[in-house]
Amino acid sequence: MEPRGEVFVLGLVLSIIVLVISVLISVWARRLTRNLGDYYVAGRSIGAINNGLAMVSLALSLTTFIGLTALIIEGVYIAVAVYASFTAAFIGLMILAAPYLRRHKSFTTMAFISERYDSKSLRFISVIVMMIVSVLYLAGNLKGIGIVFYFLLGVPEVVGIVVGGLVVTLYVTLGGMYGVTYNQTFQTIVLLFCLMFPVAMVLRTLGTAGWFFPPLGYGDLVPEMIEFVPHYFWAMLEHPITYIAIFLGSFFGIIGLPHFVMRFFTVRDAKEARWSTVLCVFLVGLVNTTVYATGFAAVYFMQTTAAGVDLTPAAYDYMVFILVEALAGEGWLALAVAGSVAAGLSTVSGLLMIMGAGLIHDLYGELKPEVDDEKKLKLSYLAMFLVGVFVIIFSLNPPEFILKAIMWAFGIAAAGLGVPIVLGIWWKRTNKYGVGVGMVVGSLIGFAGWIMIDYMGMNPVDIPFPFFNTYLYGPMGWIKVTVLAVCFSFILTVVVSWLTPPPPEDLQRQVDVMHGWPDYDEKRYNGKGLPIAVIVISVFLLWFMTTLYDVFPK
């Protein structure tokens, strides 16, 4: 894919405006930061609307803006199913974790796991899992910023990665969580306008009757699309376990992704945490359904206007811009570019924030408890900057297809962090031994799967373990590894917790406090129903995964 060939001045100007406003917001927000609590959780003073909007921009990264369109071109229905599950996962996050985490009053996911299970070792393990997940997530997003710059200026993607990375590092370091929150709110508003309007214009040019409402405005093109791509709406090309793996990865992955969870530590109370999620899911759904329309329009465009044009899969990541420029015009393209810059910045900032907090608050603070908060605050500025530089260097060799790395991050987060959080909130009997085994085994399965299948490019059939040869052949590496990792994490956590001594009463009491009870009752959240159901469902899913091969022959 070639860049546009000339500097796109209007797009560049709008992008620079977005970047400058982001830095100015952080400079303003710096005045609000007086202590460590302000820096990491914005003094727990954020309201539901502000937090909901901030969560939207965190959810709508560049992978949504450009990666999903590419995924729809590649995988059609399955790509929509992935994002449908991701949208619904926010309500799963709210129902299973959000208000309870807020009542726990931790700073980070890692602190929650450590304090709930009274274990320093678990804190260190969860910091390692968090770093793996965050770096995978970040690399995809910084590559997206590189793609935007390449398209705008024709400069190598590396330049975009460095410039975008430095700007976001600067404003996160300066403004802390206040800066990140107000920036994310601003970026959500930019993103909503800059996605909806250009896509509406694209649909209008394609001749759809409902162009003014992109999420549902392309229905009248369906008959023609089915002629071009018969399987576009076809769910049956995938084994049911595919959708179940997507459900496990998205629902428990989002609970395990620390930069999402951290947002709930910033709100005023549990009620604000709940309602901010409802607002968030409505807006995320609005944007995602608009992106489905973009994917549909891209496939339709490739079959009609661009039929005969040789577009390689590598160009699919640019398809949003190609589409908007060809069908809506340069003015709308400039808006789309600015929106994608905002989308990239917001997610990167949230990830940098949690990585800095994890290193200083959870790692350094635990190793050197005697260090006072003022020194920790100064070190936080330094750590945030160094983390930003490290991620920029790591992202210089990013994955080819930006959504892939993020799907792996979801799977690892689900097994490594999502499971201990959910069981820690809903089952008092969960103890540090069970969580330790479940976390380590679950995240190792996910991480090893990523290394072997995605990073090293191995087909599961070539992996030198008999188990893989027997059960895991075929192309769907992420699906299988995610089901294995999450199910084993659940099973081991429950079984080992059951076989080892129960946690002391003060730890069990935390569960009642998280659920808002003023008193303690041993019987609450301590039944056998949940652990038995978890094991039965997990074993069933592991068995169900092996039936894959009855349907799809080897």
Binding site: A84, S85, A88, W275, W517
Partner: protein
């Protein structure tokens, strides 16, 4: 104990609904299709049985132009889960008020 049971049941029911309509909705489309239509979901077999249009339930059964199952996927995973989430929030707000009292 009454509020505790309400919390558990409301959470369980809402989570199952959200997991179904947003999470693995498409699995059921596939499983029900296999069960009732005895289909082996390979691309060739499906095209042979359903024809090139590949509507899930009945050919040309659409809502706003979309095949029914696709429309349901898009709407349930967006508006559907938002409504379920809001209902759960109202229930939890009520429990929280009684806990404070």
């Amino acid at each position: 104990m009454k509020d505790y049971k309400l919390e558990i049941w409301a959470t369980l029911i809402c989570f199952i609904i959200v997991a179904f309509i947003g999470g693995f909705f498409s699995s059921f489309v596939v499983i029900l299709n296999e069960t009732f239509f005895n289909q082996v979901p390979t691309p060739e077999g499906l095209v042979d049985f359903y024809g090139e249009t590949m509507f899930v339930i009945k050919e040309h059964l659409t809502v706003m132009g979309f095949p029914l199952h696709y429309f349901l996927l898009v709407m349930l995973s967006w508006i559907g889960v938002t409504v379920v989430g809001a209902i759960w929030c109202f229930i939890m707000d009520g429990i929280e008020e009684r806990q404070r009292a």
